[in-house]
Assembly symmetry: none
Homo-oligomer: 189 residues x 4
């Protein structure tokens, strides 16, 4: 009398978030339909609303997922200059292997102009990111790995700008590799 094994509720939630994440990357907010999400997760539309009362709540889950995914590119290993290089590479790798993350981040970036909740989340992420990179630049300069007279604040801003542009679709920001190489060169990495 076992029947189809029920999934643990937490797993269901995760399935739905993942389905929404993928569809958001594919179709954008413009084309995101709760019915499609439910279908991709293999459940009824009413079940989706059982786990997420509104579409907005579901999107919240996706945001969380993406932010977690992105934070993984900032894991501290080795000296500051190595950490910096690793970060650049990790971002490049993430964009190549999981372009969905970039796509969704782009969507969130645009939406932050209209959605206060997303805005504050995006802003705080950027701020944290900025501080981490600036700190790495400062320590790298102090330890003599990169040019010492660098304005770490401004340089960090440029690093973020360049990496942020890379989350956009290829058409909108081609020459990823060239830009990154030039960035490393200027930083002296």
């Amino acid at each position: 009398m076992a029947g189809i094994p029920r999934k643990v509720p937490e797993q269901r939630r995760q399935d739905l978030v993942l389905a929404a994440f993928e569809l958001l990357a594919e179709k954008g907010f413009e084309g995101l339909r709760t019915r499609d999400v439910a279908a991709r997760a293999g459940v009824n539309i009413a079940t989706l609303h059982y786990y997420f009362p509104t579409k907005e709540a579901l999107i919240g889950g996706v945001v969380e997922h993406v932010m977690t995914r992105f934070r993984s590119t900032l894991e501290p290993h080795g000296s500051p200059d190595r950490q910096l290089r690793n970060h650049l590479r990790a971002v490049r790798k993430l964009m190549r292997e999981e372009p969905e993350v970039g796509a969704v981040m782009g969507e969130l970036a645009l939406r932050s102009a209209r959605d206060p909740a997303i805005a504050s989340l995006v802003r705080s992420t950027q701020e944290t990111w900025h501080q981490v990179v600036r700190g790495l630049l400062r320590r790298a300069a102090k330890e003599g790995h990169i040019q010492p007279d660098l304005d770490s604040d401004a340089a960090a801003a440029m690093v973020l700008a360049t990496l942020t542009a890379m989350t956009l679709p290829l058409q909108a920001a081609p020459h990823h590799e060239l830009a990154l190489r030039q960035l490393e060169r200027w930083l002296g990495l």
Copy 2:
């Protein structure tokens, strides 16, 4: 007995494009409604369809408008290094004074991942832009205004990446000024 003065047709078209442009900047593709566009332009929804058979056609008009607007930042005046500096400043000014242009360009960038028509337009715009900037960098280097050993191709890619990031909402790309200042510094402008 004058009645309401009729507008010149070309003016009506322009009004509609402008209304669509503003609403696209405000709400994104996700929230763009033809009825709202018509209302903002002060005409009946059927009148909108008299000028633009489909929503897609209207969006085409908006794209044209934005591209024209953006191209205005690339006007050739003076030496290559001055042109470069002017371009950077013009973009900064445009984003400050007409953030809608940036917002819409961001929307187009994201949409280019799904819409072939927009994709090719965005791509060709980027390509032209890249070539112009690279040409300016080359001539500026040759004339001794900036460092001569610069890889003009890679540097152009970085310029574009930085400027492209600036079209995103402030939350998603803060520290515009810092980034731009650093860019000028590195270029030696």
Copy 3:
């Protein structure tokens, strides 16, 4: 200083009626659009409404046209039996050479169930037609050309039914020729 020669108003009206007639045959009432009619007649939609205040009025013109066209199959030549045979042949010829007439008559037949104006017109046409055919049958019988014991009323009803079925599209009433041949045989023509 001649310019494009203006058409006589009556000609314009006729052009519009003809265009409407053709389009009604092609698309049916379901697909009849005043704009298409105007376009086919080569005039502006507002011009159409100058000649025909409403779509209904235009349709009235078409009805008139079709009835005239159909009445042409009932021209008296020769003896009653010859007239009968000629009538059958004229209908057959009309349906072959101008199937639009049949198509439009079919449309009118159906519409007569909802449109009192058309209903009375269709009814009176049928009544006249019935009387003519019955009269011919009677005289033909009296003159010994066809079987004398024929119920001219019932036979006329059958003639009309058969010919009416022939105005329907081929799919709905195939074997025209067979049916007509049998009719002639039974009538002894």
Copy 4:
């Protein structure tokens, strides 16, 4: 606390088809509106689209219904001549008691000139009908119930033509009874 009792889904479908059938008979394709259908079936317009994705699909349901209804006039009971007579009477009865069937069949006949799907359906129905009637005529002749020298093919064509005309509104094909009586007389039924 019973609330409004839910209908069985199949019943809902049938209700919708029936509503569409009635409205199609009343207003024709020209005047058939999905909202009216939903209203007559007592459901929201969105519910209609839950059962039938498109208007076309709903019409498909109506076609099926009508064909089933019409086929019921061709039930084999008794000798060939009795079957023939019964068929004629069943059609007459159907047209009298459910004129909607005739109206809808007329609509389908006209539409078959434009709609390939309906065309093939109408054509195959006619072909089957023709063969059945021809077969009955042959066997009736062989068994000596009707005149033996009858061209069964041509006679079948005439039977169909007459009966088809009877599906049209009364205005367009009056004297049903007379025509049918004459048909029986000629066939010797």
